[in-house]
Symmetry: C2
Subunit: 334 residues, 2 copies
């Protein structure tokens, strides 16, 4: 415990993110002893597509990562040293801190985890991922039972929860994912009504054939790009599009070929809403209560792809953009 390893962000990627954007540095252990600073040992790191957005030097909903600074994200860890009441050594906590084995974190930014729940749920179904799915679908999707929901990146962390929540709310759910295996899993394990492989030949036509009678009432968009183009021409009147992510675009330079048409919004009198969950904190308690109840009753499958070892943090992150995860991608650090 005399040394710490930290992942630094050292180079802005211009297209597909690669390992040379990062550097692992060995450093002395963070100095403890500051009031209100808690020394934590990192146990799990959340790797998320939105982080790619922060690696670009342009206006976005969160500040860009600064070159030369550590990567930072959602983490679960164990308290090693603390002088703050209620955050005792040994407690498991959730917070945002660097991709590092150890970190000094302000006590007020930490949430102590319920020991009865699997700790990774704090990064997942009972964390920002679940909140994103629930608040995005309910607040911006405004679902009515019987409506047709389409979810892109449906086998991903947010998408797999959106589809399941949609089913629990009485929607018909179609998922779009990147392999036949993921599509089978969505239908067999997550009870999606249908699922479509966007890499299959004739994807657009197959999707249109299947949805031509029902159309699309809610499109929960995690990807953008050609997949979104295929869905946009199937919108029903007054459809709602929840713009949650655009993973297909994160690794592209600007100047895109494939972009949704506002004329589709006009034709269908549809509404497209970009949102980020951090701006809806007043709704977290109600959402977490509902998600917790569903999860406790076994109604939500909280799929995780866990990569073992700090040494594999970077490759797990890059793997997000190559479809390597099913459900939430998490790295077990210790």
């Amino acid at each position: 415990m005399s040394e710490n390893r930290v992942v630094y962000f050292v180079k802005r990627p211009s297209a597909m993110v690669a390992p040379d954007a990062f550097e692992v540095r060995r450093e002395p252990m963070p100095a403890s002893g500051q009031t209100d600073a808690v020394l934590v040992e990192s146990l799990y790191a959340s790797v998320d597509p939105y982080m790619r957005g922060r690696m670009a030097d342009r206006k976005s909903y969160t500040a860009p990562f600064e070159v030369g600074q550590p990567m930072t994200g959602g983490m679960v860890g164990r308290v090693l040293e603390s002088s703050t009441e209620g955050v005792s050594p040994g407690a498991w906590v959730f917070g945002m801190w660097p991709w590092a084995e150890y970190a000094l974190v302000p006590a007020r930014s930490l949430r102590v985890l319920d020991p009865h729940l699997p700790p990774t749920t704090a990064l997942h179904v009972l964390g920002l991922t679940g909140l994103t799915a629930y608040i995005g679908l309910t607040k911006f999707g405004r679902p009515q039972a019987g409506e047709q929901l389409v979810v892109s990146a449906a086998a991903g962390a947010v998408g797999s929860l959106v589809g399941q929540i949609g089913r629990l709310m009485g929607l018909k759910v179609a998922g779009i994912a990147g392999s036949d295996e993921k599509c089978r899993w969505l239908q067999e394990n997550l009870q999606f009504d249908t699922a479509f492989n966007y890499r299959a030949e004739n994807f657009s036509r197959t999707l249109a054939d299947h949805l031509k009678n029902d159309g699309v009432d809610i499109y929960f968009d995690n990807v953008g790009g050609p997949v979104t183009d295929a869905v946009m021409s199937l919108l029903n009147p007054h459809a709602r599009i929840v713009v949650c992510g655009q993973i297909a675009l994160y690794n592209l330079d600007y100047g895109l070929e494939e972009r949704p048409r506002f004329s589709d919004l006009l034709i269908s009198r549809a509404q497209a809403s970009g949102f980020i969950v951090a701006e809806h904190q007043s709704e977290f308690p109600e959402a977490l209560e509902t998600l917790g109840r569903w999860y406790g009753e076994g109604l939500l499958v909280a799929e995780e792809t866990i990569t073992n070892g700090f040494d594999h943090l970077i490759e797990a992150f890059i793997g997000l953009f190559h479809g390597q995860n099913r459900g939430k991608a998490i790295v077990r650090i210790k």
Copy 2:
């Protein structure tokens, strides 16, 4: 009065609409005498960009025009024969009927005009144009005094009213139009705060320079295409985009180069709403009362470009797509 002239729609245009899409036919006068059918003499015809959308054979918010049928639109006329109480011969009426010198129209579809108001206002500030501007801006733009509004096709029928209504609601108003002369007119006659010529060199950069401090809180979009692309990168957090028209796209085949990015919606947590005014009829009375009051008090300039003569109906319509009108384009038939 023994003969009628009617404009028929005879050929779907594949790109820019041209005169060969239409044919003027001479026909006998419509037979009167049916119960509830009123014989009207057409006095003014409204020509509107949305009609180009109905000339394409694809799903839209109104049914496509059928090839071989007359063109139909908003009209003002005088009642010649009627057996319906309240719709007496001599009355001036508004309704939807064919581009023809005379027509038989169901009495229940007609609105008798207030003789104290200029009759063309029924096609304009006190008709669907004004309602579109008012309801689009207030309901979907959700303006707050002091916010920055940007309007495209700002010298057009809807756009010129949107900007003026925005001013009356305390917004800062920037217009985008197609000539320096239109831009001057917007600033000098309609009190727009600023106006930008999208045909000028460096349009995007000039727009960005002027708006870089305020950003864009509401974008009322009548055009789509490159103009919209230029505005999308200037959105403030929680901006609202009112997708009212996409005139830049109406005359293009599908497969567009320039399309707004949903990633812009995500970055700014913005909302883009397509709407058509016909679906908001419950709000017409309140909107018309407000518009009528403002107009009566001289607070709204209701600019009109009037083309004289039935013979020029088709060219007036085509002229819409070449920027020939300022304010509402109307054809005086008699």
